[in-house]
Symmetry: C2
Subunit: 237 residues, 2 copies
């Protein structure tokens, strides 16, 4: 049975981390809200009666199981899609990297929404300018620098984040770098100049056959200014 992904249509957002895993594995899935509109997605968030309601999109339906939170979805999919190592140690380490990437993504979001998600960017521009300055100068180098250290410290070599095989964390690194390079092209180029192993892994993921085909397809929504990674030139400093 096909996986069902529920996420906001029209943006990559957090759903994209799940899509990349499903696409790399060649898994059968339905992108429900994109194909059928958001009514079914909204209904799943507010279903009355006994159950396990997710807090927010994205969420995944796998048979009877409904799972929210991007990192929890990947924790579930990893073994099923062959995108994580076999050992418990590899699995929790892969998950730890994913959670750290999720923190970076949340901070990237808050550069344009430092006050409230419910307000427009235009209603928080001075605050956004201050937060983005810190994100560019401190946080992007810190996150990418840590990923570089993880690659350098991998006993199996720097080709992948965990061991000697691709994991969903590698796909998520790819997406983080894509998003940062879209939203903060100048700051990200400066940071990437210091992290050659991250650059190499990003390139290697982009050149995988299924990922490459996905990126060329119309299933890949272009970045835009409704998503998490937004190109506001005034925030790139």
């Amino acid at each position: 049975m096909a996986y069902e992904l529920y996420y906001w249509p029209g943006i990559q957002g957090r759903g994209e981390f799940v899509r990349l895993a499903l696409e790399e594995a060649g898994a059968a899935y339905v992108d429900v809200a994109r194909d059928e509109g958001i009514d079914a997605m909204m209904a799943g968030l507010s279903a009355p009666g006994p159950g396990r309601p997710p807090f927010a999109p994205p969420y995944l339906r796998d048979g009877d199981l409904v799972i929210g939170q991007t990192a929890a979805i990947l924790l579930h999919l990893g073994p099923r899609l062959g995108l994580v190592g076999e050992s418990e140690a590899d699995r929790v380490w892969t998950h730890q990297i994913q959670l750290t990437i999720a923190d970076a993504v949340a901070e990237a979001h808050d550069t344009h929404h430092p006050i409230a998600s419910a307000l427009y960017y235009e209603d928080q521009k001075p605050e956004a300018a201050r937060r983005a300055e810190d994100f560019r100068s401190q946080r992007i180098p810190k996150y990418l620098g840590w990923l570089e250290r993880v690659l350098a410290a991998n006993p199996a070599g720097p080709r992948y984040l965990v061991g000697d095989r691709l994991s969903y964390a590698d796909l998520s690194l790819f997406q983080l770098v894509e998003g940062l390079a879209y939203a903060f092209p100048r700051a990200t180029e400066r940071a990437l100049a210091e992290t050659p192993k991250v650059v190499a892994l990003h390139r290697s993921v982009a050149s995988r056959p299924r990922i490459g085909a996905y990126l060329e397809s119309d299933r890949r929504t272009p970045f835009n200014e409704d998503g998490i990674f937004r190109r506001y030139p005034e925030l790139d400093g």
Copy 2:
């Protein structure tokens, strides 16, 4: 062998979610930085050579395994401490709740640090006032309201978040409510008036023998204005 927890001394912070799980289980653990100073903790973050360096505290050492990210630590400890159900479905649901509580904690932090963690609160007070207003009026009710729905929708009844047994998510709900009630007493009282099942679970956790003993002990650091939950009356509106 005792677990080793590495976290900033002097605050509850994110380490407290791990402490509560260890305390409830009566597990042997060393709170390394609190007992021995932060040098060992800092060394673990910047260890050279092959390995798996955590991004930030808290991190846990369990034998040869080092695990960072609060939610990943609890994912690892849950089965070992008897603080999660046996089924895979229960485990990923418990983790999903934990990740949502972690999001709430991150947002609580950002009420006093909406611009940059590296700056003082005093350097971002106007922005903090705006962010805290949204957090009080929108986010606290949303998070506590979702936890209330989770309890109401639990097919096993509203006593626990997952099934008919205590899990680490229940302990984390307790800590979230404690923190919110410390930092935003007025706003939290208003929100809790709408979430009686959350109130009941918070009380029930507080009255557990080991948790009660822990809260009375000097191992429980009082809340203070260096931690994540800070009582700045001007932010409670």
